[in-house]
């Protein structure tokens, strides 16, 4: 199959997934922000959001000590007994073995970014080696970035092939495919990229909005475009793919709106960490702050739950 | 007045100009003295430089896209709120004008006309597009429509008199149509512009949409004329200044309009209207085929 034929075939297939109207999507998600979630429902939402958090640190200055305290926070976010553990910790490949040691047998997963996160701009062989290395060090999950340059040049077959190779390199580890929505720019592109990725993913894998390293990350609107793609793919093929919005979700209030979107678009089966994650760092403490407020009835001061993830 | 009141030393205010949503002194730190009607010292007014003007243009340019993107209804409400702010403080404004030599009746009439004029333009903000734009019946299977768009940063040079009404009358049509403004206030009675800055800051108007400078015309008019990012000039000016403005504008193809009113002319209804909005919009025409 010549590359050109394959690309043309892909382009046609992707045209089939359909257009997205920007104003229409934004109006739909605005309705989520008028939902009022109170009392028991709010507590359920907050705890679920905690359980869905991929507690993340991706900084040049990360150290084993930082990873260790992150893991402690992940296992026991707060001293209240009913607060669940988070879903995973998310770290750079060099930190995976420290994270593995840190989470022990708590059930918290170790997720590693790989494939030259965040830009992805190295040779494919380097990116695949990084994936294998992270998995060998004990990563349960891998967060990869797609080749945006190839996507925007129309080399869809190449984008897809690279994802397939990463799936293979993951072995038993679950894969989350970062589309990097800020670079894809249009909702049409986000929808296309979602289908492109899902076509080669396995149940238990995820698609993800962003690296968190650019100025535009997860929004209700791009989350909506992606979960609608997931829904359509599931209803067509029976394969459930997970969703992970990442970056830009700082408050509990926002996270509840994302969960409302899931509830009304994908339904109950996706309201679980098996199929939905939040890529976040300071979100966790705001969730705890709100849980404490629901428990005591009093608004919390920020210093009870520091916003700075350094203080974990 | 009580004995305590008689002995109380009043606290005087330091006038600062309103640029980029903040109150600042001139970057040069220069000031010029302003006296009240009795000749007594009133305050040291910022003597703005061309660098202040440059900073103001930057602030206006930064605020431009956001202001242009606001809905016309939102711009209308903000202009109306500005009118509310002025009306609520009309006593202070009238006293200030009288303090600088205006007759009380004139000051009150200027105040009332100024507020009503703001409301007049608030009422234009969500209507001028319907009157200045059009759907054009071209002889082709195309839908063809013309829409008015803001020009960008507009430089306003207000008359010395009437100091408040002149400034308001010139700023309002420019802002109502989505442009942002850098304005030079009256040179002889600059203080009302300082008060206007305070009211702009409390009217929900985003910072940078209107920037007010005080200072000397001879120092600033040349830069108004030549700064390339100012896309249009609206000036109340004499013959020499007009020539200088037109000459300077040529280098960057600015649109130049002069206010023809003077003195009592500013109070008349002829000093306001749709044509003043039209002078500060661009017209964009789009074609699109009609078919299956």
């Amino acid at each position: 199959m010549s590359p050109r034929n394959s690309t043309a075939a892909h382009a046609r297939l992707l045209d089939e997934v359909g257009a997205v109207d920007q104003v229409g999507v934004e109006e739909r998600v605005a309705k989520y922000t008028t939902r009022s979630v109170k009392k028991e429902a709010k507590v359920w939402g907050l705890k679920t959001a905690v359980s869905m958090t991929d507690l993340t640190t991706l900084e040049g200055k990360d150290t084993p000590g930082k990873i260790e305290s992150l893991c402690r926070k992940a296992i026991r976010p707060y001293e209240a007994p009913s607060v669940p553990t988070v879903a995973a910790v998310c770290v750079y490949p060099s930190m995976v073995r420290h994270a593995r040691a840190g989470v022990g047998s708590s059930g918290v997963k170790v997720a590693s970014v790989a494939t030259a996160f965040p830009s992805g701009q190295t040779h494919l062989r380097t990116r695949l080696a990084e994936v294998r290395g992270a998995v060998a060090d004990g990563a349960d999950e891998v967060d990869m970035v797609i080749n945006r340059g190839a996507f925007l040049s129309g080399e869809f077959a190449r984008v897809e092939d690279e994802i397939s190779e990463v799936v293979e390199a993951c072995g038993p580890a679950a894969l989350k495919v970062i589309l990097e929505v800020s670079e894809l720019e249009t909702y049409d592109n986000i929808r296309k990229a979602s289908f492109l990725a899902m076509g080669v993913l396995r149940p238990g894998d995820f698609i993800k909005t962003s690296t968190g390293k650019t100025t535009l990350n997860a929004t209700l609107a791009n989350n909506q475009v992606m979960i609608e793609a997931i829904r359509d793919f599931y209803l067509d093929t029976g394969i459930p793919i997970g969703m992970k919005p990442a970056g830009g979700i700082k408050t509990a209030k926002q996270s509840l709106q994302f969960l409302i979107a899931v509830k009304e678009t994908l339904g109950d089966a996706w309201l679980t960490k098996k199929r939905y994650r939040f890529g976040a760092s300071s979100l966790l403490n705001d969730l705890l702050r709100q849980l404490e407020k629901e428990r005591t009835g009093a608004y919390q001061a920020p210093y009870h739950f520091s916003d700075a993830s350094e203080s974990y | 007045m009580s004995a305590a009141a008689k002995n109380r030393i009043p606290v005087t205010k330091t006038p600062k100009v309103y640029i980029g949503g903040a109150f600042v002194r001139s970057e040069s730190a220069r000031t010029f003295k302003v006296s009240d009607r009795s000749g007594a010292f009133f305050a040291n007014m910022p003597q703005c430089t061309r660098k202040d003007l440059r900073n103001a243009v930057e602030a206006a340019a930064k605020a431009g896209p956001g202001w242009a993107r606001r809905t016309p209804y939102n711009r209308a409400q903000i202009l109306y709120r500005l009118a509310e702010m002025l009306e609520a403080r009309s006593g202070e404004l009238v006293a200030s004008l009288v303090g600088f030599g205006a007759r009380e009746a004139d000051a009150e009439r200027g105040m009332a006309t100024g507020v009503d004029r703001l409301i007049h333009y608030a009422g234009w903000a969500d209507k001028y597009a319907a009157l200045l734009g059009s759907v054009n019946p071209v002889a082709a299977p195309h839908f063809n429509f013309t829409v008015p768009e803001p020009m960008g940063v507009v430089g306003v040079i207000a008359p010395d008199s009437p100091p408040l009404l002149g400034l308001l009358s010139m700023i309002a049509p420019v802002v109502a149509s989505g442009n942002t403004v850098v304005a030079l206030a009256s040179e002889t009675v600059p203080y009302p512009a300082i008060l206007l800055g305070e009211m702009l800051a409390t009217s929900d108007l985003p910072g940078g949409v209107v920037n007010l400078l005080t200072g000397y015309r001879r120092e600033l008019v040349p830069t108004f004329a030549t700064h390339a990012h100012i896309r249009a000039i609206f000036a109340s000016a004499g013959a020499d200044e007009r020539k200088a403005l037109r000459l300077g504008a040529a280098a960057s193809v600015k649109r130049v309009r002069f206010a023809e009113q003077s003195g009592a002319g500013w109070f008349a209804d002829s000093a306001q209207g749709l044509d003043l909005v039209r002078d500060f919009v661009e017209l964009k025409t789009t074609w699109h085929p009609i078919g299956s």
């Binding site: 997205v20 009022s36 679920t48 009304e264 | 209804y73 409301i119 209507k127 085929p289």
Partner: protein, 491 residues
Amino acid sequence: MPTRKRNNPAGSRLIFGDLWEYDPAPETADPKLKGRYDLFIDGRFVRPRSGKYFPSINPANERKLSDIALAGPADVDLAYRAAARAFPKWSAMAGRERGKYLFRIARLLQDRAREFAVAETLDGGKPIKESRDFDVPMAAAHFFYHAGWADKLEYVAPGRRVSPLGVVGQVIPWNFPLLMLAWKLAPALAMGNCVVLKPAETTSITALKLAEILQDAELPPGVVNFVTGAGETGALVMGHPGAAKVAFTGSTEVGKAIMRQLAGTDKKMTMELGCKAANIIFDDAPIDQAVEGIVNAIFFNQGHVCCAGSRLLVQESVADRVVAKLKNRIRVLRVGDPLDKNTDLGAINSRAQLATIKRLVASGVREVMYQPPCALPERGFYFPPTLFTGVTQSHRIAREEIFGPVLSILTFRTVDEAIEKANNTAYGLSAGVWTDKGSRILRMSTELRAGVVWANTFNRFDPSSPFGGYKESGFGREGGRQGLIDYVNLA
């Protein structure tokens, strides 16, 4: 390799269950209702001559909210005389001053927005989310927009001098009580007319609350008068010799009756009547947004919208997909207590309207009717969102206005067929077009016989956008410069 697709014959389904239920979220702001509302004539609240009142109930639970005065012939006459007395001074007032009254009304309504939203929901049954986010802000916007026209009369009809008509009689419906009142009052007043207005019988409360705002705004007495009552009172308002013009929004049937009533007089009139709007979806439409558009078109306000997209015309090649997505979408619509902030579909406005809906639905074919499971409250008037597929043009539910949350779904194959089917109705108020292709939007807009065409959107309104119908949906326009012409004489 191309994206793999597996056929899924087992049919994966989405589960919209009770894993995470929203708790009740009632709006608690006080609507400050009075136990009894009198007529508003000549700037004051006055008892009706007959001394008679009728109850206004809350359709969500059938409980009485308030007693409303019943205006008879003497009251209507009193109102018209008050308006005529107020007219010379009001019309001679400088436009800039007249406008300021309207600006005041807009601002005062914005101040009391939440109170009015709750009152509107209690009286009419619409969800609080709608009254709060749409009805009240839009009503304030109409006053604000029209206020700015009062001193710009020379631009209303270029080349002509305009002058007010005099006293205008207006009758408004129950589906957007406060908003319809704003649509009627604002242009009339801005142009210098005085008004006698009858709110709908089941929804008089927010009009009479607005009368309080008119007093706070110090509107000169007699400029606006409210006479409450039912059909008889409406006929008196429309037929009074003091009216230079009448404006009516309501059913086509009643509109025709008024036109007959007024034949032989020289009253000007405008009518905004019923519709059976076609919402047309092409195969290249952004499908999920189109589905949301369908929901906005027919379930917004429980379908009590004159311009509701009550006929879905979907291109055959995407019909199954659209209907499947629509069913999933309406499964998460929440029907229930209008005062709950999470309610999407509130109560049907009255027992009578509910009976009408049920009767028309009964005439549809049961086998192709779909209603998502929803628990309706025991008391009050409720109806679930309802779809009928496989409908054709000859079906009753494709021809008659139901005025409820009921969608009739038809298919088409070509653009020409869509146009033909869409126009195959005596009505012509609105239409919707969903396609990714600009030239097609413009062609459809050119050929659809409807006063409002929504492309890739639906049920969008703005004070500056003229609204009104073709054919039996009425004549005259409301909103924009064009909407002012009906309220002036041209010289």
